[in-house]
Amino acid sequence: MIKTLILSCKKATELVEKRSIVSLSFKETVLLHVHTAICDACATYQKQSVVIDDMLKQSLHHDRLYNYPQQNDHLNLLIDTIIEKIKK
Protein backbone atom coordinates (compact mmCIF):
# COMPACT_ATOMS: atom_id res chain seq x y z
CA MET A 1 0.00 0.00 0.00
CA ILE A 2 2.71 2.43 1.08
CA LYS A 3 4.82 1.34 -1.88
CA THR A 4 2.25 2.53 -4.43
CA LEU A 5 2.38 5.98 -2.82
CA ILE A 6 6.11 6.34 -3.18
CA LEU A 7 7.75 7.55 -6.36
CA SER A 8 11.40 7.19 -7.13
CA CYS A 9 13.35 10.44 -7.55
CA LYS A 10 13.80 9.63 -11.23
CA LYS A 11 10.04 9.32 -11.70
CA ALA A 12 9.33 12.40 -9.56
CA THR A 13 11.65 14.65 -11.56
CA GLU A 14 10.15 13.30 -14.76
CA LEU A 15 6.74 14.36 -13.49
CA VAL A 16 8.10 17.83 -12.74
CA GLU A 17 9.01 18.22 -16.40
CA LYS A 18 5.89 16.47 -17.62
CA ARG A 19 3.79 19.00 -15.76
CA SER A 20 5.32 21.81 -17.81
CA ILE A 21 4.02 20.17 -21.01
CA VAL A 22 0.74 18.48 -20.11
CA SER A 23 -1.41 18.52 -17.02
CA LEU A 24 -0.82 15.68 -14.59
CA SER A 25 -3.53 13.23 -13.62
CA PHE A 26 -4.96 13.48 -10.14
CA LYS A 27 -2.92 10.49 -9.03
CA GLU A 28 0.30 11.91 -10.44
CA THR A 29 -0.33 15.28 -8.78
CA VAL A 30 -0.81 13.61 -5.40
CA LEU A 31 2.21 11.35 -5.83
CA LEU A 32 4.45 14.26 -6.78
CA HIS A 33 3.15 16.31 -3.89
CA VAL A 34 3.79 13.53 -1.38
CA HIS A 35 7.24 12.93 -2.81
CA THR A 36 8.44 16.53 -2.72
CA ALA A 37 7.05 16.89 0.81
CA ILE A 38 9.42 14.22 2.08
CA CYS A 39 12.32 14.51 -0.38
CA ASP A 40 14.42 17.68 -0.09
CA ALA A 41 16.49 16.87 -3.16
CA CYS A 42 13.47 16.66 -5.45
CA ALA A 43 11.84 19.69 -3.86
CA THR A 44 15.05 21.55 -4.71
CA TYR A 45 15.04 20.10 -8.21
CA GLN A 46 11.49 21.33 -8.70
CA LYS A 47 12.36 24.83 -7.55
CA GLN A 48 15.51 24.98 -9.65
CA SER A 49 13.69 23.62 -12.67
CA VAL A 50 11.62 26.80 -12.75
CA VAL A 51 14.80 28.85 -12.37
CA ILE A 52 16.37 27.05 -15.35
CA ASP A 53 13.23 27.72 -17.40
CA ASP A 54 13.61 31.42 -16.72
CA MET A 55 17.30 31.26 -17.59
CA LEU A 56 16.52 29.58 -20.90
CA LYS A 57 14.00 32.23 -21.79
CA GLN A 58 16.45 34.95 -20.90
CA SER A 59 19.23 33.23 -22.78
CA LEU A 60 17.20 32.97 -25.98
CA HIS A 61 16.31 36.60 -25.60
CA HIS A 62 19.99 37.44 -25.13
CA ASP A 63 20.87 35.46 -28.22
CA ARG A 64 18.46 37.44 -30.26
CA LEU A 65 19.73 40.73 -28.91
CA TYR A 66 23.38 40.02 -29.45
CA ASN A 67 23.49 37.79 -32.48
CA TYR A 68 20.81 39.47 -34.45
CA PRO A 69 22.47 40.38 -37.71
CA GLN A 70 21.76 44.04 -38.22
CA GLN A 71 24.44 44.47 -40.82
CA ASN A 72 23.23 44.85 -44.34
CA ASP A 73 26.45 43.29 -45.64
CA HIS A 74 25.47 40.05 -44.11
CA LEU A 75 22.02 40.06 -45.62
CA ASN A 76 23.36 41.05 -49.03
CA LEU A 77 25.79 38.18 -48.95
CA LEU A 78 22.95 35.78 -48.24
CA ILE A 79 20.91 37.29 -51.07
CA ASP A 80 23.81 36.88 -53.52
CA THR A 81 24.39 33.29 -52.47
CA ILE A 82 20.75 32.40 -52.99
CA ILE A 83 20.53 34.08 -56.39
CA GLU A 84 23.63 32.22 -57.50
CA LYS A 85 22.13 28.90 -56.39
CA ILE A 86 18.87 29.51 -58.19
CA LYS A 87 20.67 30.20 -61.45
CA LYS A 88 22.54 26.92 -61.35
Binding site: L7, S8, C9, K10, K11, T13, E14, E17, K18, S20, I21, V22, A41, C42, T44, Y45, Q48, S49, V51, I52, D53, D54, M55, L56, K57, Q58, S59, L60, H62, D63, R64, N67, Y68, P69, L75, L78, I79, T81, I82, I83, K85, I86, K87
Partner: protein, 189 residues
Protein backbone atom coordinates in the same frame (compact mmCIF):
# COMPACT_ATOMS: atom_id res chain seq x y z
CA UNK B 1 15.41 24.11 -65.06
CA UNK B 2 14.04 27.55 -64.31
CA UNK B 3 12.97 29.63 -67.29
CA UNK B 4 14.49 33.03 -67.76
CA UNK B 5 11.27 34.84 -66.96
CA UNK B 6 10.84 32.85 -63.76
CA UNK B 7 14.44 33.46 -62.87
CA UNK B 8 13.83 37.20 -63.04
CA UNK B 9 10.79 36.94 -60.80
CA UNK B 10 12.65 34.78 -58.30
CA UNK B 11 15.60 37.11 -58.19
CA UNK B 12 13.26 39.95 -57.42
CA UNK B 13 11.64 37.96 -54.61
CA UNK B 14 15.00 37.02 -53.14
CA UNK B 15 15.95 40.69 -52.95
CA UNK B 16 12.62 41.71 -51.56
CA UNK B 17 11.82 38.99 -49.02
CA UNK B 18 15.09 37.42 -47.83
CA UNK B 19 15.30 39.86 -44.90
CA UNK B 20 11.81 39.08 -43.59
CA UNK B 21 12.17 35.35 -44.13
CA UNK B 22 15.50 35.32 -42.34
CA UNK B 23 14.15 37.28 -39.37
CA UNK B 24 11.32 34.80 -39.01
CA UNK B 25 13.57 31.74 -39.36
CA UNK B 26 16.02 33.20 -36.87
CA UNK B 27 13.24 33.87 -34.41
CA UNK B 28 12.11 30.27 -34.71
CA UNK B 29 15.51 28.57 -34.51
CA UNK B 30 17.71 31.03 -32.62
CA UNK B 31 20.57 29.95 -34.81
CA UNK B 32 22.01 32.08 -37.56
CA UNK B 33 23.42 29.28 -39.70
CA UNK B 34 20.27 27.20 -39.46
CA UNK B 35 18.14 30.22 -40.32
CA UNK B 36 20.26 30.97 -43.39
CA UNK B 37 20.10 27.38 -44.57
CA UNK B 38 16.34 27.32 -44.15
CA UNK B 39 15.87 30.51 -46.15
CA UNK B 40 18.09 29.15 -48.92
CA UNK B 41 16.15 25.91 -49.03
CA UNK B 42 12.93 27.88 -49.15
CA UNK B 43 13.99 29.61 -52.34
CA UNK B 44 15.22 26.38 -53.88
CA UNK B 45 11.79 24.86 -53.31
CA UNK B 46 10.23 28.04 -54.70
CA UNK B 47 12.38 27.69 -57.83
CA UNK B 48 11.13 24.14 -58.32
CA UNK B 49 7.52 25.01 -57.80
CA UNK B 50 7.27 28.44 -59.32
CA UNK B 51 5.32 27.10 -62.31
CA UNK B 52 2.53 26.23 -59.92
CA UNK B 53 2.51 29.64 -58.33
CA UNK B 54 -0.79 31.40 -58.98
CA UNK B 55 -0.64 35.10 -59.43
CA UNK B 56 -3.69 35.68 -57.29
CA UNK B 57 -1.76 34.68 -54.14
CA UNK B 58 0.80 36.95 -52.51
CA UNK B 59 4.40 35.86 -53.16
CA UNK B 60 5.28 36.70 -49.56
CA UNK B 61 2.53 34.48 -48.15
CA UNK B 62 3.53 31.69 -50.52
CA UNK B 63 7.20 31.88 -49.53
CA UNK B 64 6.37 31.99 -45.82
CA UNK B 65 4.25 28.88 -46.31
CA UNK B 66 7.27 27.06 -47.72
CA UNK B 67 9.52 28.35 -44.94
CA UNK B 68 7.11 27.22 -42.21
CA UNK B 69 7.16 23.70 -43.62
CA UNK B 70 10.95 23.80 -43.73
CA UNK B 71 11.15 24.84 -40.08
CA UNK B 72 8.73 22.09 -39.04
CA UNK B 73 10.82 19.56 -41.03
CA UNK B 74 13.98 20.83 -39.37
CA UNK B 75 12.58 20.10 -35.91
CA UNK B 76 11.00 16.83 -36.98
CA UNK B 77 14.38 15.56 -38.18
CA UNK B 78 16.02 16.68 -34.96
CA UNK B 79 13.46 14.85 -32.87
CA UNK B 80 13.51 11.74 -35.04
CA UNK B 81 17.27 11.46 -34.70
CA UNK B 82 16.85 11.87 -31.02
CA UNK B 83 14.42 9.00 -30.48
CA UNK B 84 16.66 6.68 -32.47
CA UNK B 85 19.46 7.34 -30.07
CA UNK B 86 19.67 4.59 -27.44
CA UNK B 87 22.30 6.42 -25.40
CA UNK B 88 19.74 8.75 -23.90
CA UNK B 89 18.22 6.21 -21.52
CA UNK B 90 21.69 5.33 -20.26
CA UNK B 91 22.35 9.01 -19.87
CA UNK B 92 19.36 9.58 -17.60
CA UNK B 93 20.28 6.51 -15.61
CA UNK B 94 23.72 7.89 -14.91
CA UNK B 95 22.07 10.41 -12.54
CA UNK B 96 20.11 7.83 -10.55
CA UNK B 97 20.78 4.61 -8.67
CA UNK B 98 19.15 1.39 -9.85
CA UNK B 99 16.18 2.01 -7.54
CA UNK B 100 15.60 5.47 -9.05
CA UNK B 101 17.07 7.51 -6.20
CA UNK B 102 19.60 10.26 -6.79
CA UNK B 103 23.22 9.30 -6.97
CA UNK B 104 25.08 11.17 -4.28
CA UNK B 105 27.09 13.34 -6.68
CA UNK B 106 24.04 14.48 -8.59
CA UNK B 107 21.63 15.11 -5.75
CA UNK B 108 20.27 18.67 -6.04
CA UNK B 109 21.30 21.15 -3.36
CA UNK B 110 20.50 24.80 -2.89
CA UNK B 111 22.50 26.99 -5.25
CA UNK B 112 22.84 29.78 -2.72
CA UNK B 113 22.89 32.57 -5.19
CA UNK B 114 20.55 35.33 -6.22
CA UNK B 115 19.15 33.59 -9.26
CA UNK B 116 17.16 36.53 -10.51
CA UNK B 117 20.26 38.62 -10.97
CA UNK B 118 22.42 35.93 -12.56
CA UNK B 119 21.83 37.12 -16.08
CA UNK B 120 23.21 40.55 -15.19
CA UNK B 121 26.52 38.82 -14.69
CA UNK B 122 28.32 38.42 -18.00
CA UNK B 123 30.55 35.66 -16.71
CA UNK B 124 27.48 33.63 -15.88
CA UNK B 125 25.98 34.26 -19.30
CA UNK B 126 29.15 32.86 -20.87
CA UNK B 127 28.99 29.72 -18.70
CA UNK B 128 25.31 29.29 -19.45
CA UNK B 129 25.86 29.50 -23.19
CA UNK B 130 28.72 27.06 -23.00
CA UNK B 131 26.45 24.60 -21.18
CA UNK B 132 23.69 25.09 -23.75
CA UNK B 133 26.12 24.36 -26.56
CA UNK B 134 27.17 21.11 -24.91
CA UNK B 135 23.67 19.71 -25.23
CA UNK B 136 23.32 17.36 -28.20
CA UNK B 137 21.82 19.36 -31.10
CA UNK B 138 18.54 17.46 -30.99
CA UNK B 139 18.05 18.27 -27.34
CA UNK B 140 18.96 21.83 -28.03
CA UNK B 141 16.30 21.94 -30.74
CA UNK B 142 13.66 20.63 -28.35
CA UNK B 143 14.59 23.02 -25.60
CA UNK B 144 14.62 25.94 -27.99
CA UNK B 145 11.31 24.87 -29.48
CA UNK B 146 9.71 24.74 -26.08
CA UNK B 147 10.79 28.21 -25.09
CA UNK B 148 10.42 30.01 -28.38
CA UNK B 149 7.01 28.77 -29.44
CA UNK B 150 4.27 30.99 -28.20
CA UNK B 151 1.89 28.12 -28.71
CA UNK B 152 0.83 25.60 -26.09
CA UNK B 153 3.48 22.87 -25.72
CA UNK B 154 0.78 20.35 -26.60
CA UNK B 155 0.41 21.84 -30.05
CA UNK B 156 4.16 21.92 -30.54
CA UNK B 157 4.14 18.17 -29.96
CA UNK B 158 1.32 17.67 -32.42
CA UNK B 159 3.01 19.77 -35.05
CA UNK B 160 6.22 17.80 -34.70
CA UNK B 161 4.32 14.55 -34.98
CA UNK B 162 5.45 12.96 -31.76
CA UNK B 163 3.80 12.21 -28.47
CA UNK B 164 3.95 14.50 -25.45
CA UNK B 165 5.59 11.58 -23.61
CA UNK B 166 8.66 11.69 -25.82
CA UNK B 167 8.70 15.43 -25.57
CA UNK B 168 8.82 15.77 -21.80
CA UNK B 169 11.30 12.94 -21.55
CA UNK B 170 13.58 14.86 -23.88
CA UNK B 171 13.17 17.99 -21.76
CA UNK B 172 13.87 15.98 -18.61
CA UNK B 173 17.11 14.58 -19.98
CA UNK B 174 18.27 17.89 -21.36
CA UNK B 175 17.56 19.62 -18.08
CA UNK B 176 19.49 17.06 -16.05
CA UNK B 177 22.49 17.66 -18.24
CA UNK B 178 22.13 21.40 -18.24
CA UNK B 179 21.79 21.71 -14.47
CA UNK B 180 24.74 19.41 -13.93
CA UNK B 181 26.90 21.51 -16.22
CA UNK B 182 25.87 24.72 -14.44
CA UNK B 183 26.64 23.23 -11.06
CA UNK B 184 30.01 22.01 -12.22
CA UNK B 185 31.08 25.28 -13.78
CA UNK B 186 29.28 27.82 -11.67
CA UNK B 187 27.34 26.96 -8.54
CA UNK B 188 29.69 24.45 -6.95
CA UNK B 189 32.84 25.59 -8.58
Amino acid sequence: MVSLAHEKILENWVKKYTGDLFTWAFHKTSNRQTAEDLVQETFLVAAEKIEHFRNESQPKTWLFGILKNKIADHYKTAVKNFSLNPETEDFTNSFFEGDGHWKKDFMPHEWNSDEEKLFDNNEFVVVFHMCMKKLPPQWFACMTMKYLEEKEPKYVCQELGFSPTNYWQIIHRAKLQLRHCLELHWFYE
